[in-house]
């Protein structure tokens, strides 16, 4: 069973990896057959499937990283993530469903820091060959009007 300490350590690793932009290490936080989406609250509540970022496998997360690091063109920026308290929603066998809020603050060159996402994360973690991984992560963001682009994952 994934206990609170394991969850704490998992999310510490997860967010530090992203804050430090070690994107190549990011897909390993997910299972091979994971579901990952960053979706506007508007779509989520209406039952629309369209997501701002959508992946059906770890491979697609690898491709997302490839895009950010190899194919996309964008102005340099910093993202910093401020997760809220973690709620354990339920357990099913050895998987655990969690929920927490997430504030993502971005800073562009010569600009003041600003909120890029105000969101809630609905996750499912499972033990997966020797470590804990996300089998599902749905980041539902309130933000109605994204300040131009969303470059890095949440």
């Amino acid at each position: 069973m994934i206990d609170r300490d394991a969850l704490r350590d998992f999310y510490d690793d997860y967010y530090i990896t992203l804050d430090d932009v070690r994107l190549d290490d990011w897909p390993a936080f997910f299972t091979e057959d994971c579901i990952y989406r960053v979706i506007p609250r508007e779509n989520y509540e209406a039952g629309y499937t369209l997501s701002t970022i959508y992946a059906e496998s770890r491979g697609m997360l690898v491709d997302r990283v490839m895009g950010v690091t190899r194919t996309q063109m964008y102005a340099p920026r910093y993202y910093r993530r401020f997760p809220g308290p973690l709620r354990i929603v339920s357990r099913d066998g050895d998987s655990v469903r969690t929920r927490h809020n997430l504030l993502v603050v971005q800073t562009l060159i010569d600009r003041k820091s600003e909120i890029v996402l105000s969101a809630v994360c609905h996750d499912v973690l499972v033990p997966d060959d020797g470590r804990n991984r996300l089998r599902e992560r749905i980041v539902v963001f309130d933000s109605e009007m994204i300040p131009n682009s969303l470059i890095y994952p949440a």
Binding site: L50, S51, A55, V62, D63, T71, Q72, Y74, N148, S149
Partner: protein, 408 residues
């Protein structure tokens, strides 16, 4: 409106002065002459308001409107501004109502925008009320002209605007109906982003196939849209509308790709399902990107279908609303395919984020040099459709029309 004292460059076709993107007077004139002038503006998909009483709010130019199904076969587009004292009475994005009610004094309008109730019109216990010469029948919400074309709702503020089909022109009506073919549509979902650049930069971007082969590594590498592929760049007779047509190729090294900095032969997809494209439209073409001047981009790219709505918020920015849709009778597999391919588009799109970023970088570049000018000579000075993508004709066409419309 103040007079605009700006001079167009002598190379009238080959150059576009940067003041068109930053001058507040020019922007104010654009609102009057273009957005509130004889042009059809995108409002909604019928699928968003299927039942009588269903409404959606949106913004045309800078003006808020309500788009409401006022009868089984009728959609009304009304300014979201109460006739009494101007309140934007409808605040929800979507909903269902029996009538339109303003909360301030409860003036009440039919779904067609006619004033049908004025609270205390006759006064209360003999006191107050409206004067004798007050005639509700002469009062209504401002009603826009509306046309519904194969599931898409269009509106215009002007009486001079030709019928929508004539506005597109026959050729573009054909392009339009290739995808909007009369089948019922359904909503996949929305994306919304604010892009800090002049609204025309988005029109230019989608009228500019020249950049696609150079900016978009993803397109180029995986052959979704590349200069060595069969393609066409068409404009309507006025020059205001455009379409980019292309036929997907492969990730191959050839005489063209070998010279492209952006072609990466070493990149592969770990999960290629995003490239799992099926042919669903007549003909071989895999991409058809239509710009309907001034308000919208109609995207058909592989199996990803969207309407990208431009809402200007000043000379230096616009809100960009993406409505991804599918056909109502799509299989679950097809919906999933479209949802998956949407990763290429939107604020986090493998391809579209390049464009929203480049637009911001454009505004940053020329905002402080209004008297300099950009060059749009790719493909020469001609302003006519061509069967390739090595051209800036779409931009030349738009500005030829823009100058007419603006009287500049």
């Amino acid at each position: 409106m103040n007079k605009i004292d700006r001079i167009w460059p002598s190379d009238a076709v080959g150059k576009v002065p940067y003041w068109v993107y930053s001058d507040p007077e020019v922007y104010a004139a654009e609102l009057e002459r273009i957005w509130y002038g004889p042009h059809w503006l995108y409002c909604a998909l019928e699928a968003e308001i299927p039942e009588v009483g269903d409404f959606k709010t949106t913004t045309l130019g800078e003006r808020p409107v309500v788009v409401v199904r006022s009868a089984p076969d009728e959609v009304s587009v009304l300014e979201n501004r109460c006739a009494h004292r101007g309140v934007k009475f409808c605040q929800a994005r979507k909903g269902h109502v029996k009538d339109l009610l303003c909360p301030y004094h409860q003036w009440n309008y039919s779904l067609r925008g006619d004033l049908q109730g004025v609270a205390f019109r006759r006064g209360v216990r003999g006191q107050g009320g409206m004067p004798a010469d007050f005639d509700p029948k002469t009062i209504s919400l401002r009603k826009l002209r509306v046309e519904v074309a194969n599931g898409v709702v269009w509106a215009t503020f002007s009486d001079e605007t030709p019928p929508f089909r004539a506005y597109l022109g026959e050729r573009f009506w054909q392009h339009y109906t290739r995808v909007y073919d009369g089948r019922k549509l359904a909503i996949l979902g929305y994306n919304r982003q604010h892009i800090p650049g002049n609204w025309k930069l988005m029109q230019e971007n989608i009228k500019d196939p020249y950049h696609a082969s150079l900016l978009h590594v993803f397109f180029v590498t995986f052959g979704l849209f590349r200069a060595d592929q069969k393609s066409a760049t068409e404009i309507d007779p006025t020059g205001r509308h455009g379409i980019l047509i292309s036929r997907a190729g492969r990730q191959e090294i050839n005489d063209v790709t070998s010279g492209m900095r952006t072609f990466r032969s070493d990149i592969t997809l770990s999960d290629p399902r995003i490239m799992d494209v099926v042919r669903e439209f007549p003909g071989e073409d895999t991409v058809g990107m239509i710009t309907v001047f001034p308000s919208v981009v109609l995207q058909q790219n592989q199996n990803s279908l969207s309407i990208r709505h431009i809402v200007p918020t000043g000379p230096d920015g616009f809100d960009f609303h993406w409505t991804h849709w599918c056909y109502a009778d799509d299989t679950p597999e097809m919906r999933l395919r479209r949802t998956r391919q949407a990763n290429l588009f939107g604020p986090a799109g493998f391809v579209s984020a390049d464009d929203s970023e480049i637009i911001e970088m454009g505004q940053q570049g020329f905002a402080h040099s209004p008297d300099e000018a950009g060059i749009v000579l790719m493909g020469g000075r001609e302003i006519e459709s061509v069967d390739h993508m090595v051209t800036e004709v779409g931009i030349r066409g738009m500005y030829r029309y823009w100058r007419e419309a603006m009287g500049l």
